[in-house]
Symmetry: C2
Subunit: 357 residues, 2 copies
């Protein structure tokens, strides 16, 4: 059956990098059926909404979705609920892609790009599994109340249910099972919370422990406070294998981890729901409006997001491996965009990777 792939190029450098991912996909998976739609600021400018119902339906009917990037200062003045980022939150929620996979890895050729010393990042390979459709991002009640006399109160509900914790924890355990054994202080899944100060953190930890006992008792499991994980990632990142975290901690920790390698332009991400539902793929980097349209952006994160789509949604591990290896080879041969200290344009970097396929 034909697999359908929806491209949401979005804003800023989104269209440029998505184009290179599409070129690579055309080579390794020529039978994919592509469609493309407006999303984020680009959709707001056209339709007054960051995500229209039509595009949402298109997304629901796709097998995989690749998003370029959303947002930018251009839309800072837009009413908050209409901002490009709100389109992203809505898309995640509506597709129910609750497991956000954010790898942090270091291609050997780039081990010197980091602010960290080479020995701390060479061979780094962390997978962060972040809960993506609940927690303080979506909890109710939330709001800002007027208390009189110029005093106001802003509040958000940081909450999780058992089943929300269990389903994302299951993804983390399954992923850990599929990864080659790692030594170090945190060899398997390391679940992250603030159970010392939050009730939702207590629930989180208890449910992870329960699921582990019921279904994954032979897999290594550690628990660590979110602040301690923020330390560990700087101190000895290579000791970490799979991190499981809620929406908010996962947001912060995955961004921290993304900088360890010094090349955020390399990092892809996946957001997965139940088997058989479409996955949402996007580079970790933002829309970088300052370099948009100049052909300076590094397309690797978008290309590797396509690689993740082939692996996680389209059941085409071979095609994914081809991309992964080609990116590694192109880097070894010296292919570099400006962010990696080189002078290749976005499309030249795409050329180099296609040549290495």
């Amino acid at each position: 059956m034909t697999q359908t792939f929806l491209l949401l190029p979005g804003d800023g450098i989104g269209p440029e990098v998505t184009e290179q991912a599409r070129r690579v996909l055309d080579v390794v998976a020529p039978d994919l059926k592509f469609s493309e739609a407006l999303f984020g600021g680009a959709s707001y400018d056209e339709h007054g909404l960051p995500l229209t119902d039509e595009v949402l339906n298109q997304a629901r009917q796709s097998d995989a979705i690749l998003m370029g990037a959303v947002g930018g200062p251009k839309w800072a003045g837009v009413a908050r609920h209409l901002r490009p980022e709100m389109g992203l939150l809505k898309l995640r929620k509506e597709l129910d892609v609750y497991a956000n996979l954010r790898p942090a890895f270091c291609f050997p050729a780039l081990a010197d790009a980091s602010s960290l010393k080479r020995e701390f990042v060479e061979g780094l390979d962390i997978m962060i599994v972040r809960e993506l459709t609940s927690g303080v991002y979506f909890g109710e009640p939330r709001g800002i109340d007027d208390l009189g006399n110029g005093e106001r109160k802003g509040y958000d509900n940081a909450c999780y249910t058992s089943s929300e914790v269990r389903r994302v924890a299951r993804v983390a355990f399954e992923i850990a099972k599929g990864r080659k054994g790692k030594g170090g202080l945190y060899p398997g899944v390391t679940s992250t919370d603030k159970s010392n100060v939050m009730e939702s953190g207590v629930l989180w930890r208890e449910e992870v422990i329960k699921l582990h006992q019921e279904e994954f008792a032979n897999e290594p499991l550690d628990h660590i406070l979110a602040d301690a994980m923020a330390m560990q990632l700087v101190k000895k990142p290579k000791d970490v294998n799979v991190i499981l975290a809620d929406n908010l901690f996962g947001d912060i920790l995955s961004d921290e981890a993304s900088q360890l390698t010094g090349s955020i332009g390399m990092l892809p991400s996946a957001a997965l729901g139940e088997p058989g539902t479409p996955g949402l793929y996007e580079p970790v980097h933002g829309s970088a409006p300052d370099i948009a349209g100049k052909g300076l952006a590094n397309p690797c994160a978008a290309i590797l997001s396509a690689e993740m789509a082939l692996r996680w949604s389209l059941d085409r591990a071979d095609a994914a491996d081809r991309i992964w290896n080609a990116v590694g080879k192109a880097l070894e041969d010296g292919a570099r965009t400006a962010d990696l200290g080189g002078s290749m344009s976005t499309s030249q970097m795409g050329d180099a990777i296609i040549a290495a396929l």
Copy 2:
């Protein structure tokens, strides 16, 4: 008038490091009147409570309080509301020490101790101002509800009022005014929030902006999302001057920052309330039960916490400067505990610093 100084040595390595701080204070401020009390696990073991009313009253009547460290696996089985850490939260709340000052700095002699390359940390000097008595740590309602069928819901209220934000923001602006100008991307106060997804974050940002316009319009002010700050701290930490953050983001970001220098055994902290109320000082490191009682702990963080007490609560900047310079000199002369790659014992390190006073 005699100034009174309460020591709460606490648990693990707490007593050892506090002792060295006391020795240093005896030299630079011999007229201080000391008292000492049980706190944390040590208090729980004796009284069944991590913080007794008596000790709380003693704290209230002191000019400054130095805490060593609290907690450890020994008390992991204790009912949650009686854990050592709960004594700490209660002490912070009761003293209303809402402004937590967490510096991250790098003594020149230690610029190679970090996982980061020397050029990224040499001269690093960040001050994090963390709100310490509100936010999701204390918000109500909070709890775990049974939803039936084995399903539960855990929830916490992440909330702030205008005046809570304003008073801690004011501390950050005042501190930034007193620091020598820094260039870089974030030269003044950088306020951190998740105002893109949290209502309390929207309130936070709006109140900081308002206070800035009213009272500090000439000071540089930036706003950045908490995830972006987690990246910035790894990418280019020296670009950052003063970070203002809420209780939860401040907890995570200050721990991340504490590892940038590679020597968490060096870092002190202060928790300040309104002028005229006692400040609470503590090392950033924990109770390190694995090395407790062995004379291996680095006393510098405790000694520098005493230094902060002299500066921020006792109005003795000269004595504080003496300590700061002595620590720097001792390090230059090669004084090192095990965590810094040396072989000095806790008391030998104390000796070296006292000799350099």
